[in-house]
Symmetry: C2
Subunit: 363 residues, 2 copies
């Protein structure tokens, strides 16, 4: 099989990089749709974007009704607004939810697609600029949009090359006001991306190199995450590490950790990164039993053994959720139906055992 | 200053990846110009490309008159052929010379440019697919074309985003028939790219991660390079390592090592990679005196200290060239005029000292 590496996003990183690169916005067109969540105004990101667009004489509308875990209905609404206002490009400002929603909106603004989840989808989308305000999802450098799918009771990914943003701006200052729980959960999400990417059958030299660097950077800030104390440099590092991990999964995809985690999020509202954190250590232990050399490389990249990794993640997570055995069985079944490019294959029974170890029962 | 990472080339790596991905050639258009050197027919690469184009019903002309160190005159001739035959895309097959020439041809086929070296040049070029048959230049993943410039008695780089190939195919089998001297010189070129990239003021987390991985892979094959014995897996590794190093310099540029080396090549025909190899160890020693922490990171990535690195490179190079002091002084002067983004700055006198240590005098 071929190995592919493709990363067409121009990633620009630095203090005040949005305002200092107004010229890069200009060629995108006369009118933008800004897609964001309710809280993005608070961190200054939205003000920077509107200042740049105003200075360039580019008109815009703001669609700020993106909830956590956006639905198909929400992105259809956004696409109607994009069409109505004649948006020539989309600026996404926020965490994973606004960025993923923006991608689906950019797609639906250019194509009439009845079923977003019927693959393959056409490759035409409005061009996008992404500005992450959390350090975790990596959506700013991936071609994926994860949407909540009520008809199948899960979250599901859509993907097309045109969903790669054209530019991603990384400025840690937008993440400085994030509360501790979001900072930790999103950082764990990024760690999980890098580790899961190394487990993929699509991993290659470039993606592995980026995954190792991502883990080195993210886990290098472990003490800050534990203490909940973040300097601007630490914030920038977390954002950088998360983007590197995004470049990894853009090429490798994720693993059953993500698929299992979607059920925790869908049925019980467990934040996405936290769900991955609950599952990843137990999943890696199982991987080690099945493919020790591969998993050993991941522990080497994590800079610790299975025991230490479990303990460190557990210390960040605090008390673990418990759910009924019946639910765990249903989630294992659902995850076993999903195709992933994980180099280590898991049966439904084994996925259940991972859940059992990671979550445990409630009666 | 911002850090940027941009790598829009789809890099596909694997045995027989050209023939197995005929479908990826089809959307590029009805007619191709294949740009190659005289020797590329021997390694099977040209046959694979023409087989794919024939199977797709895509017409092509072959321009195979690219010499070592191509000149402006040569690429103007190629551009005329591209225009005359109505080429919609360019397929470059060969080492650095054909790949760099192909880029300039792709540019000149779409733009009338009187002075190729007057920056900035317009960004319109025919789309390209690149297939390297040496493991060194990394041109398949960079936006640079290095041309010989007789009016200034040197080699000079032109650059534009449209000079990034759309796709690069990496198949080590095309490098299997390379003689020992070319294999060694091109491998040293790649090592130099990775190390020089880490020295750049434009280096960032992604480029450094790729540089370290490149050096790990390339120097992991040192014993094969020393012995001149190459399994297919070693060939593929060298090609992979060179492409990773190319991704690095695509983002960082090179250093005065390259600028000094161009004079050795221009005036005395020293192969490009060999010229870098002659200079790099002495250059790094000087860097260490000026910025020990940065240079220490490079030695760590090389996995050896200054002494061992010098010895290992010297063992590959064999007897060193010697040139008159007067020439060394002229080359140092010329290199001091060239702007590079090296984080360690060198005066003309210091560049001369590097040459003195690396080359030595003849009387």
């Amino acid at each position: 099989m071929d190995t592919q590496f493709y990363m067409p996003v121009r990633v620009i990183e630095g203090e005040e990089c949005v305002r200092r690169n107004a010229a890069l916005f200009a060629p995108f067109g006369r009118r933008a749709l800004i897609v964001t969540g309710k809280s993005s105004a608070a961190n200054g990101s939205l003000a920077d974007v509107t200042a740049v667009l105003d200075a360039n004489g580019q008109a815009y509308e703001i669609f700020d009704r993106i909830p956590q875990n956006p639905t198909v209905e929400c992105v259809r609404e956004g696409a109607e607004i994009a069409k109505r206002c004649g948006a020539e490009f989309v600026v996404a400002v926020g965490g994973g939810s606004p960025m993923d929603a923006a991608k689906a909106i950019a797609l639906l603004a250019r194509q009439n697609i009845g079923d977003l989840f019927a693959q393959p989808i056409g490759n035409d989308a409005l061009p996008m600029i992404h500005i992450p305000t959390t350090a975790g999802t990596g959506s700013e450098v991936t071609p994926y949009a994860i949407l909540t799918r009520n008809d199948k009771e899960t979250k599901q990914s859509i993907s097309a090359p045109s969903l790669f943003p054209k530019i991603a701006f990384l400025d840690g200052k937008y993440t400085e006001s994030l509360p501790q729980n979001i900072t930790v959960n999103t950082a764990i999400d990024a760690v999980s991306h890098a580790a899961e990417g190394m487990l993929s059958s699509k991993a290659g030299a470039a993606s592995d190199a980026l995954a190792r660097e991502s883990l080195r950077i993210l886990l290098g800030e472990y003490e800050s995450l534990r203490a909940g104390e973040y300097s601007p440099a630490v914030r920038q590092n977390l954002l950088r590490g998360a983007a590197l991990a995004g470049m990894v999964i853009a090429n490798t995809g994720t693993s059953p950790v993500h698929t299992l985690g979607y059920s925790l999020t869908y049925y019980h509202g467990v934040p996405h990164g936290r769900a991955n954190g609950l599952l990843l250590p137990a999943f890696l232990r199982r991987c080690f039993e099945k493919d020790a050399p591969l998993t050993r490389r991941i522990y080497a990249a994590l800079g610790m053994d299975a025991e230490e990794f479990s303990e460190k993640i557990s210390a960040l997570l605090g008390e673990r959720e418990k759910y009924p055995e019946k639910e765990l069985r249903a989630w294992a079944h659902k995850a076993s139906q999903s195709r992933k490019s994980c180099a280590v294959s898991f049966s439904e029974a084994e996925l259940y055992e991972v859940l059992q170890e990671a979550i445990g029962y409630s009666e």
